[in-house]
Amino acid sequence: MTDFLAFTVVGVVTGCIYAVAASGLVVTYTTSGIFNFAHGAVGMFMAFLVWELHVNRGWPLVPTLLVVLFVLAPLMGAVIERVLMRRLYGLPDRVTLVVTLALLVILLSAAQDIWKPKARNLQPFFSGHSVKIFSVVVTYHELITLGVAAAIAVLLRLLLFHTRIGVTMRAVVDDRELSGLNGVYPERVAQLSWALGATLAAIAGVLIAPTITLAHLPLTLLVVNGYAAAILGRLRSLPLTFLGALILGLIEAYAIGYGSSFKLLGEMKPALPTIFLFVILVFLPQARLRAGRIVGARTPSVPSLRSSIVAGAVLVAGAAVLASRVSEYWAYYVGASLIVGVVMLSLVLLTGYAGQVSLMQMAFVGVGALTMGRLARDGSIYGVLLAGLLAGVLGALVALPALRLQSLYLGLSTFALALFAEWAFDEPWLFDRGGILAVARLKLPGIAVHSEEGQVVLAAVAFALVGVLVLAIRRGPYGRRLTAMSDSEVACGTLGMNLVAAKTTVFALSAAIAGMAGALYGGLRTSVSAPDFYALQSLFLFLIATIGGMTTVSGALAGGVFLALIPEVQKLLGVENLQFVFIGIAAIFLAIDPNGFGGNISLLREQLWARRRAPRAEVVAVPEGAS
């Protein structure tokens, strides 16, 4: 019984911290319509700032907290709103997703460069002091956490219902344009709520940092637990968000507490928020289709079958020539660029054409690599096909609950699933000794693809085949359905199109492509380990795909080259994480334009073609008019 009480206290305290984090998320989402993936990153950054000022520079605790929580954090929120978010109001979820993810990467990488990884500790408040309540020892830090969460709940309620500015915030949520016609400046209100959200993130960060070690990634990913809670309130209701946070905190505490006696329960702990999220998603009612503005951007024209085959052949020949000229070292990078390019092609299909977001693509790559490594040790072609099949089935299964919902929920749940996969990949039996799994290279009868050079040609053939396939899909009736769905779901719905079927199949297809690419990727590298497929890798993949461009095959190739060459750039510049800051900034600039690098080059080429043709047409027209 005492155990139970003790676990309950721990659970409630953890739940309170999640509640504080989640309420900040809800406040910013409702007033600006932007879901801030970087919410946890803001909290992490502020917790590190507290450490820097208090521990490293010796400031007294109280002024440090006042400065960080009530000056720096709101300032950061306000600046983020002014510089990044103000341009995004009314744009599709895909764009805001990229920008906030890029912000997450920027903050995380910057923090990793400023505060190099080492053991740091933030002491709990009133460390060592505790009281005994009903035979349970409760530390002062835990009491403060409870008090702060309760105070925030009360203050938020007062703010939103009993002050004019709070009522105005709710008015902006209801109808942004009408609030302007009432004399309200909606941007200023949104800025205020971003400042408030950042403060809440910072408070959560400071409260949780002493209970887990002060490390970059766990604090950043705290937001996952926060949004699992927030989704119970459908990202709108604060009371339900608090309830969700408490339930999640309690589940976690009991899992840890009783984990020693029930082993599976204890091991499940890192995956609990994802499971919680999924159960809620399954029970959420289907999203209503909203008649929104049609935000179709101009995309480059789709090449014909003939020209895509020719381009594929040229690519294979070019890759073969390149591979025979460069050293084995560089040949590896050429092969890696092409294989990563195939993974990018899976995003071209899914995000570029169908408008669906996946932040777990590297997990499918991992499934593919593991399948090849475990089940096809002889390097048989069936291994690659099986990898595709497995990843495809998994893709359809995991995406199904979220596909009924809006694209934002798809982004959220795929990110949560990427974290779930990270936990699954950490199972020791999946990999061999040392957490490494050897993956065989594909053996084809009569063709030698074992050398580095052969691998490059193989990768080029794979890219060309998938590229031609993706373009063929785009030209066909199924591709037209996907494009139509991406343009306007409500129009497709009224035409009787089965949206769930279209989304599920495209998700499975994309996962299958990623899985097959994973099998080849494992072969190219000859061995893989779990961190290759962590959630953060999927994030980088998505951001770089945005930079490369997700509407064209050439964009996928550009993305593949960018991502594969990152380690080299890192070596060349002698930086550790700085390149990710640049990736984040580039992604922010390119987020609004779905065409990215590759697509814009295609558009430019088309324009030049058109211009070159135009004067010729005039020359023809003049003599006709004269005669």
Partner: protein, 253 residues
């Protein structure tokens, strides 16, 4: 010296993207007068109101409110300068209570919350019984009264009404227009966009018919009423031939 008109549009052009909707609108609303802007669907009436209220920046031309050049001003700044707009549809915040809806107006009017509520409830006693009710659960007519109450309490110099009769029973429309003429008698200049031409003409001092993004006829309500039928039917018969009309029609999507 005459007083500056409450509203003046000089050769205003406006477009959504590449589709031009207003092609040189000229319009003058004298201080304290009621002006009815009529015309078929897609003529550009609502777009004209969007331009005046600052929600759409005109491509060229001048918008003068109370003698001040206001092109490109933010909607909120215009509200603070004495412009009140009741946009098309139900112009209320559905998830806020009646009292909260009225409270929002005090950002611009700088009045106290009590004053605002007292005046609104004096004009529309029905609202007082429902002050804590969530506005989205009011009936359509009540919602529109709340919207009008919002206009009333801000003491605007110029009021823009966009199809306040839409979807309401004739009796309720009559009630609403009683309130409109009451506001007009207090000296507020009002620009009314309305599909129910007769209703609007009954309270108007001046009227104009708009089609194809231009003012076609303007003058006394009686004169405009005569021109009304031919304007509507005329533009309807044009629709098949004129490329312009289809463009304007597209703009409303």
């Amino acid at each position: 010296m005459s007083i500056a008109p409450a509203l003046e549009l000089i050769d205003v052009h406006a477009a959504y993207g590449r589709i031009e909707v207003l092609r040189g609108v000229n319009l003058v609303v004298p201080p304290g007068s009621v002006f009815a802007l009529l015309g078929p669907n897609g003529a550009g009436k609502s777009t004209t109101l969007r331009v005046i209220s600052g929600r759409l920046t005109p491509r060229s031309g001048c918008v003068h409110v109370g003698g001040n050049h206001v092109n490109g001003a933010a909607p909120a700044a215009l509200v603070r300068a004495g412009l009140c707009t009741i946009p098309e549809g139900r112009a209320i915040f559905p998830n806020l209570t009646v009292a909260e809806n009225l409270w929002i107006t005090t950002h611009a009017s700088k009045k106290s919350q009590e004053d605002t509520l007292d005046r609104a409830f004096a004009a529309f006693p029905m609202l007082e019984d429902r002050r804590t009710q969530v506005a989205g659960t009011l009936s359509g007519g009540q919602q529109q009264m709340l919207a009008l109450a919002r206009a009333l309490v801000t003491d605007p110099a110029l009021l823009l009404l966009d199809e306040i009769s839409m979807g309401l029973a004739p009796r309720i429309v009559a009630d609403l227009y009683d309130s409109v003429s009451h506001m007009a008698s207090q000296g507020i200049a009002i620009l009314i966009v309305e599909q129910l031409a007769r209703v609007a003409l009954a309270v108007a001092d001046y009227a104009a018919i708009m089609s194809h993004g231009r003012i076609q006829t303007a003058g006394e309500p009686a004169d405009v009423a005569d021109a009304l039928e031919s304007a509507y039917l005329g533009s309807a018969s044009l629709e098949g031939r004129s490329e312009r009309t289809t463009e304007v029609g597209h703009a409303r999507i």
